[in-house]
């Protein structure tokens, strides 16, 4: 036995040595020559020609010619990047000419699945994948996740806040329906390890796959139920060094901004509001109004467009240089990237502390690095080492509470003349928050102005390191097709913050009585010569967050064909430990097995089981088994099909069923109740002693466990007309049980805040359709069209809701996304209205809500339960969840010679959003330090305008009858967006070659160019909650110029 092995070893070693040499082993081999051309007859240089199953291989020369030795019966494999691989069995002939067809970007021959890759033809799970190339087309600044919008069927990406450097913090990703009332975030893996891909440079990414059904995700056991996103980074390939340099600069601005009335219109509306509220003494005089109208006293009766003043276009920059190549021993991919994002608020120019970029503006710098190496240590041993990292620095103002900057910049705008501000020797434009007092106190008429960024700024830093080592050993000597690998990964992320605050708020104050200015702080009015407060630079840098994970894995792979019987098997053992620096580490352990069998790639079978454990649960409840089964049939491989249906070239159907779990968002130690020290309560004794106290922990849920999803999926993949037209349809069904949630039927008399239990149950189903058209009309002109559409529906089956809860306010039977929102501060339910009170009589006919009394022109509320009063029992829950039920995307690519045009549309439908605090900040003029009104609010109810969109105006938001958490504040969030238009031109030729450039691409891209939405107030509908009503940094519209050079 032993000598045999050694012999074999030596042979392998020898084969390694000869790998680069054309093998000319004697025998029955003969030399075969030929020419490789494309569909249009053009010769193809650089095509790899390999004898299948051997290491014999050559490349075609500049004219597409090749010459190789092969025996009859052996199979020649012709492959080239961007072309469909072709296999030809050698017969008697000596010349084999080959025509290769181009692959389309969407059809990849290999699909990334859990713990491996599968040939596209044999995949039986529901998996969608896009290439890194495609990802780069959409320019999203620092938010790479957002580039996935509308390109992967079944995936929804929502961004709420575009704060430079923090975009990803507000991103919601969801695969399919989101069947959990708890956490619906998918598992994200980068190169097989659970970690974020936010800070990857798009250039580093090779592909992104999403795994949707149980067949694909069951291998992730207790973490797979929400779907899995697998990001794989680029790797080197054998060949000469290829160097890519990309330089990108974007001009960016807010997509849509609200429009405001000018000061005269505002004042007119304000008078109307005060009249409606009977505040006669607060009206502005006709004389003052006349001043506003004519603008003859711009200091006292100013009109100034703050929106125009505060927002300015800004530039982002992005550079990447990467190199790839390799030889028989080592292959490498090295990438270095730099991203710079700047600010669309004109803050920096007015903030007085300008040293070392220390101003209050938003900016973000990111450096990324990656080095992926593959070593062939021996013929059968491969060592993979990945080293990647990023460093980020970003800056933002201190007073950033829900983007107060933005809120203040657009709400409290008291139209102030720039000239007045220019008087200041400091040359700062003061900025108002509480604003113009003549709104509140016309007699005194004082003006208070405060800087934006008037509280200092914060400097954030973060760094991330990821290191992976994988050793793979082929074990063909045990049995052919067997291999084993050991993998270790270490990841570390830290985030730091340092604050540079001002010790108090600071601004200017105008006393219009004598037109003198003074400075003021939040405490007092100061002399104008008072020095500015000092920026406090002595604060320490603090660690904001830290995460360290280690992961190791042992994996055994088996893949072998026995004639037409193809078998694969995977066995995985892995463990992961994750530790946030302030937390006790969490642990997980997985045992995974998967087997596939197919007959001639026609009848496909797959089964997998994961036995995974999470330390979140009580001993004995930590491990669970998650099985899945799938079958597939490639009908178009049947002879009868090939004979009869020449126009129907490809047909595959597949069905899968399985169970997956989710412990996402479930707290740890739920099964333990512990008592902790608590603050002192009541004082007793003389002298008074406050006795310390001990507090009971939460009621333990000893049987807490993961959520279980039973999923099934039926898919069809079809190709028509020589596969120019492709159609993929996936239908799925999910039944999720044991959703851990705070029980809803825990009354006050239990005496605890909440009790958790695995009591939730939901059902979901949906469909994904992907229709493609891809045809090259000539060598010069290719057209690619692709449309995707996903529709998901989910319903709460059980939410542990009390029996006595009225149907209209209970969430059982309603969409999961609606249930999720119940109980937030944001009202998730609303009172219906029946339009406005149109007459005085109606005021007495309609049931009333308590609180402020309505006037004609206010909302008429519907007494849903007919009990004679309008109150919380009359609320209804919204029809649609926030995460849209329906998303679609359309991608068009037209390639004419060297010119490529790409157009992407994206849209979401059937989504509603409850505005922050009942729309207080947005729907009602003159509210909460908001002294202005939007242009659109001109269409409010007046006796002359009864068919208005807005109710009658009032002087206060919360004190009016209209502000009652009604339907008005639950808005239709659907939109359609022209997401991306890219025009690129490819330059190549001798002149460039002379300076060493193989190819140069110039691309002009417009991102988020146009948005269509039913919401009329302005502002961007994406991430509705915080975007449009001033809680967040605005969404960006970009014009990007990209130069890409390949050396």
């Amino acid at each position: 036995m032993k000598p045999d092995f050694i012999t074999k070893m030596r042979l392998h070693a020898w084969m390694c040595l000869f790998i680069l040499l054309p093998l000319t082993v004697a025998g029955q081999q003969k030399t075969i020559t030929g020419k490789v051309v494309d569909e249009f007859g053009e010769t193809l240089p650089g095509v790899t020609v390999v004898v299948d199953g051997t290491t014999r291989g050559v490349s075609t020369d500049i004219d597409g010619n090749y010459s190789i030795s092969a025996s009859p019966g052996e199979v020649l494999v012709f492959s080239s990047v961007g072309m469909n691989t072709q296999k030809i069995t050698v017969g008697a002939e000596a010349v084999i000419n080959v025509t290769l067809s181009e692959t389309t970007a969407e059809i990849e021959s290999v699909v990334v699945v859990g713990y491996g890759v599968q040939k596209k033809e044999t995949v039986v799970g529901a998996v969608s994948q896009i290439s890194g190339e495609r990802l780069k087309d959409v320019k999203m600044g620092g938010a790479i996740e957002n580039s996935l919008q509308g390109v992967l069927p079944g995936m929804v990406v929502l961004m709420q806040d575009a704060t430079p450097g923090e975009e990803s913090k507000s991103i919601t990703m969801q695969i399919r329906a989101g069947a959990s009332m708890g956490n619906n975030s998918p598992l994200i893996l980068v190169d097989g390890v659970e970690r974020s891909f936010t800070n990857l440079d798009p250039e580093e990414i090779s592909s992104i796959s999403i795994l949707k059904d149980a067949s694909a995700t069951a291998v992730y056991g207790v973490k797979g139920a929400n779907g899995v996103v697998i990001v794989n980074t680029k790797r080197g390939s054998e060949g000469a060094l290829q160097l890519d340099f990309t330089a990108e600069t974007s001009l960016k601005m807010a997509t849509r901004l609200p429009e405001y009335m000018n000061s005269y219109e505002t004042m007119l509306l304000r008078n109307e509001a005060y009249k409606n509220d009977g505040k006669w003494s607060s009206l502005i005089s006709d004389e003052a109004l006349e001043h506003y109208r004519t603008g003859d006293s711009p200091y006292l009766y100013p009109d100034f467009d703050w929106m125009d003043f505060y927002f300015k276009p800004a530039f982002d920059q992005n550079y990447n240089i990467n190199a790839r190549g390799g030889n028989a021993f080592v292959k490498y991919f090295v990438s270095i990237g730099y991203l710079n994002e700047s600010d669309i608020f004109d803050v920096g120019s007015i903030f007085p502390y300008k040293f070392e970029k220390k101003d209050a503006s938003y900016w973000h710098n990111r450096y990324t690095f990656r080095n992926n190496l593959d070593f062939n240590l021996t013929k059968s041993t491969k060592l993979t080492v990945n080293l990647a990292g990023n460093i980020k620095v970003w800056n933002k103002p201190v007073d950033d509470y829900t983007q107060e900057q933005w809120y203040e910049a657009v709400t409290a705008l008291p139209y102030y003349p720039q000239e007045a501000l220019e008087q200041f020797p400091d040359d700062y434009i003061p900025y108002d928050q509480d604003g113009i007092r003549y709104f509140e106190n016309p007699q005194q008429g004082e003006v208070r102005l405060m800087w934006i960024g008037g509280m200092g700024f914060r400097r954030n830093k973060s760094n991330g390191v990821a290191t992976d080592v994988n050793l793979e050993q082929k074990l063909d000597f045990i049995t052919e097709g067997l291999s084993a690998s050991v993998f270790y990964s270490f990841n570390n992320n830290n985030e730091y913050m340092k604050e540079y605050p001002l010790d108090y708020l600071f601004g200017y104050y105008l006393n219009p009585a004598d037109s003198t200015w003074s400075r003021y702080t939040n405490w007092q009015v100061l002399d104008p010569d008072t020095p500015q407060p000092k920026l406090i630079t002595s604060r320490n840098e603090t660690l904001q967050s830290a995460g360290r994970s280690t992961y190791y894995k042992g994996q055994i792979d088996y893949a072998r064909s026995f004639g037409r019987h193809n078998v694969t098997g995977v066995g995985v053992f892995s463990r992961r430990q994750y530790r946030g620096i302030f937390n006790f580490p969490s642990y997980e352990e997985n045992w995974v097995a998967r087997g596939t069998y197919n007959y001639n790639e026609k009848y496909l079978f797959e089964a997998s089981v994961a036995y995974t454990g999470s330390e979140k649960f009580a001993p004995g409840l930590r491990f669970g088994a998650f099985p899945s089964f799938a079958v597939g049939w490639v009908g178009s491989e049947e002879n009868f099909w090939k004979d009869k249906l020449s126009w129907f070239n490809y047909f595959k159907t597949r069905f899968s069923w399985g169970m997956v779990g989710s412990d996402a968002g479930i707290g740890r130690w739920l099964y333990i109740s512990e008592y902790t020290n608590s603050s002192a309560t009541q004082g007793f004794g003389y002298p008074m002693t406050w006795y310390p106290s001990i507090q009971e922990g939460t009621i333990p849920v000893t049987d807490a466990t993961w959520e279980t999803a039973v999923k099934s999926n039926l898919g069809f993949e079809m190709g028509f007309l020589q596969n120019r037209v492709t159609l993929n349809v996936d239908l799925y069904d999910e039944h999720r049980k044991d959703i851990l949630q705070a029980r809803r039927s825990v009354p006050s008399w239990v005496g605890v805040a909440s009790i958790s239990g695995n009591s939730g149950e939901t059902k979901a189903h949906g469909v994904e359709v992907e229709l493609g058209y891809n045809h090259s009309f000539s060598r010069d002109f290719t057209l690619q069209l692709r449309g995707i559409l996903s529709a998901n529906e989910s319903r709460v089956v059980s939410y542990d809701e009390p029996d006595a809860k009225p149907e209209n306010v209970s969430v059982e039977g309603k969409p999961v996304g609606v249930a999720q929102r119940m109980g937030y501060y944001t009202p998730a339910s609303a009172i219906q209205d029946a339009g406005f009170y149109q007459s005085f009589d109606e005021l007495f006919i309609w049931p009333l809500a308590s609180g402020p009394k309505p006037i004609v022109g206010d909302f008429k509320y519907i007494d849903y339960n007919g009990d004679g009063v309008v109150n919380d029992l009359d609320r209804i829950v919204p029809r649609n969840p926030y995460v849209p039920v329906f998303t679609w995307g359309a991608n068009l690519a037209a390639i004419y010679k060297n010119l490529t045009l790409r157009v992407d549309f994206y849209g979401i439908g059937s989504t509603t959003y409850a505005m922050r605090q009942g729309g207080m900040f947005y729907l009602y003029p003159f509210t909460q330090n908001k002294d202005n009104a939007m242009t659109a609010q001109a269409n409010h109810w007046t006796p002359e305008n009864r068919d208005a969109e807005w109710p009658a105006v009032h002087s206060m938001a919360t004190d009016q009858y209209n502000y009652l958490g009604n339907e008005f504040s639950i808005v239709d969030g659907r939109y359609t967006r022209l997401k991306n238009v890219a025009l690129s031109y490819k330059l190549e030729g001798d002149r460039l070659q002379k300076v060493g450039i193989r190819q140069m691409d110039l691309t002009l891209t417009g991102t988020n160019l146009a948005t269509w939405t039913p919401f009329k107030l302005g502002g961007d509908p994406e991430g509705f909650n915080s975007g449009v009503d001033f809680g967040a940094y605005p969404m960006m519209k970009r014009f990007t110029l990209e130069v890409r050079m390949t050396f």
């Binding site: 042992g554 642990y587 330390e615 003389y686 008399w749 005496g751 006595a804």
Partner: protein
């Protein structure tokens, strides 16, 4: 060689694979304690139990300014500042639970958490056996039973009967339980109080003063039974209920008398108020001492059960802040109603309408001393010697008008709980005040009320040594008021009116009146819903320099309908189980 490699790999893999459960078998290093640590150690046990005091409601707390006193005819609080106030005044008490500063509503209802703590303690007490003295065990048990009864009492007088939980509910117990009747709940409270009275000390040492005592348990029992016997809750007028109430009150009085544990704080000397009249500054002299019931450190003989943790009103001087005396930083003034002012008898012990000497144009002289202790009237000087006199007349500086919202709406301001000579100018800091739940005078009046219902003014409970009227007179004596005039002692009805009157003036602003009106079934009556002020129009010819008349329109008309006799259960609880019923009308 190769084989060796494989063996190494396989062995190492096997090593990694073994013991998978152990890998996950980790529990957070924690600062927490388990049950054993908490309940087998006396100090820890007490620390756990002490948390049950956290839901005791402070009527005088900053954020509940005059709330309960503004829900009845005692006076008026402007609603713009406290969202809850407006909601309460318009009668939407369900909504009140979800408003800001809804303390009377939400904070009291939250006391379920403290009931849970008490129940856990009672359940775990056997674990302490052997680790604490019997006395310590008794104190812990007594306090837990008392506090359970106390919180149920707080619910009882608001929402009525409740399921009486005596063990803590577990994570998977059935929570759907019916409510007990008012009477059943009252009896449960009485039972707990009886047990607590046997276990609790008569007096705590100085380090623990303020914890509930035997007397406190007896007082809560007496009050719970009085509520149970009162017309709103005893609709068939079952005399046995009155008897039970009278006995419970007498037990406490008897206990107080025999041990000297509680007595009325007696008058000591005189106080003066000065006011400006056309004839110059006038002085009224009246017996002092009444105010010292409320300002004491650390205790006095009259207090039976209180929220001991003293409230130092600090710069606010008093819960019922007077705006003009404390300029700046004042957000709330409280305006006593004319309705209440008219209840203060004349010095002769007669209702103002019954006393021929009473002059409606000179109404502030010769009144019950408690009037001067409780109310500030127009042109009264009550500062630390400055020459400032209250301008409560119509148009006066301290009278609410126009934008000046934080002044008096009625022509009166509240003085009770305000330390002598404490104001903006004196620089003296406010004295400590306590929220008093029961004091001895209250118990005497409770006894009198129950005894009168059983057998009229002169009825003495068998075994007792005091008749109804004697009990009332004791309370009056303390402020040097004459005994109840015989004209009011004709029968139990006439005397009942005087008892109600006595409670109104004796316990003014002490958080009692609202619940009294409610249990008597009087709260929905117009005279208690419409709050009037006084119009003071300058007229130097009058004794006070002003024409004095009740305002023609009420300052506020409170909403109080039949349903308001029982507070609503918050919707979240009321809508949960069919077994647990909402109070009628809500």
């Amino acid at each position: 060689m190769k084989m060796k490699k494989i063996t190494i790999i396989l062995v190492s893999v096997a090593l990694i694979f073994q013991g998978c459960e152990e890998y996950l078998d980790k529990v957070q290093d924690s600062t927490g304690m388990d049950e054993q640590q908490v309940f087998t150690d006396y100090n820890n046990f007490r620390k756990f139990e002490d948390r049950m005091y956290k839901d005791m409601f402070n009527y005088l707390a900053d954020y509940d300014y005059g709330m309960i006193a503004s829900m009845c005819d005692e006076g008026y609080t402007e609603s713009a500042q406290w969202e809850t106030m407006g909601v309460v005044q318009t009668g939407d008490w369900i909504r009140a639970y979800s408003t800001a500063q809804a303390l009377q509503f939400s904070a009291v209802w939250d006391a379920w958490e403290s009931i849970r703590i008490a129940n856990i303690c009672l359940q775990k007490l056997p674990m302490l056996e052997g680790n604490a003295t019997q006395q310590q065990m008794n104190q812990l048990e007594g306090q837990a039973r008392f506090m359970r009864a106390w919180y149920y009492y707080e619910f009882l007088i608001r929402q009525g009967g409740m399921p009486y939980l005596e063990v803590p509910l577990g994570g998977s117990d059935n929570y759907a339980m019916p409510r007990l009747s008012f009477h059943e709940t009252a009896l449960k409270i009485a039972e707990d109080c009886d047990a607590a009275a046997d276990l609790l000390p008569e007096e705590w040492d100085m380090a623990n003063i303020g914890r509930p005592t035997k007397g406190a348990a007896m007082a809560v029992k007496a009050s719970a039974l009085l509520f149970d016997a009162s017309p709103s809750n005893n609709t068939s007028n079952n005399t046995e209920y009155w008897t039970a109430a009278a006995e419970a009150a007498w037990d406490l009085i008897d206990y107080a008398q025999s041990t000297g544990q509680y007595k009325l704080v007696q008058s000591g000397g005189t106080d003066q108020v000065t006011y400006r009249a056309p004839g110059g500054v006038q002085t009224i002299t009246y017996p002092s001492g009444f105010d010292s019931i409320f300002m004491y450190t650390p205790y006095n003989d009259e207090i039976i059960w209180e929220l001991y943790e003293a409230v130092n009103s600090g710069s606010q001087f008093s819960t019922f802040t007077i705006a003009s005396l404390a300029e700046g930083g004042i957000i709330q003034g409280y305006s006593p109603s004319q309705n209440i002012v008219d209840l203060f008898e004349t010095k002769n012990g007669l209702a103002i309408g019954d006393d021929p000497e009473y002059d409606a144009q000179n109404p502030y002289i010769e009144r019950d001393p408690r009037f001067y202790h409780s109310i500030l009237f127009n042109r009264e000087r009550w500062t630390s010697g400055t020459d400032l006199y209250l301008e409560l007349y119509n148009g006066g500086r301290d009278r609410g008008s126009g934008d000046l919202k934080h002044f008096s709406y009625t022509g009166y301001l509240a003085r009770k709980f305000w330390g002598k000579n404490v104001d903006l100018w004196s620089g003296a800091s406010a004295p400590f005040t306590h929220t008093i739940y029961f004091r001895y005078a209250d118990i005497l009046l409770m006894y009198a009320e129950a005894a009168n219902e059983i057998g009229g003014p002169n009825f003495t409970l068998p075994g007792a040594t005091m008749s109804a009227v004697q009990a009332v007179n004791k309370v009056r004596e303390r402020v040097e008021m004459p005994g109840v005039n015989p004209m009011y002692l004709a029968n139990k009805d006439t005397f009942r009116q005087r008892i109600k009157n006595e409670r109104a003036v004796e316990l003014y602003l002490e958080g009692k009146r609202f619940f009294d009106l409610s249990r008597w079934g009087d709260a929905h009556k117009l005279q208690h819903k419409q709050l009037y002020g006084v119009d003071l129009i300058e007229n130097p010819g009058r004794p006070t320099g002003y024409n004095i008349s009740r305002t023609s329109l009420p300052v506020v008309t409170l909403t109080f309908e039949q349903k308001h006799y029982k507070w609503p259960i918050p919707l979240s609880d009321a809508l949960m189980f069919k077994e647990f019923k909402q109070n009628p009308g809500w």
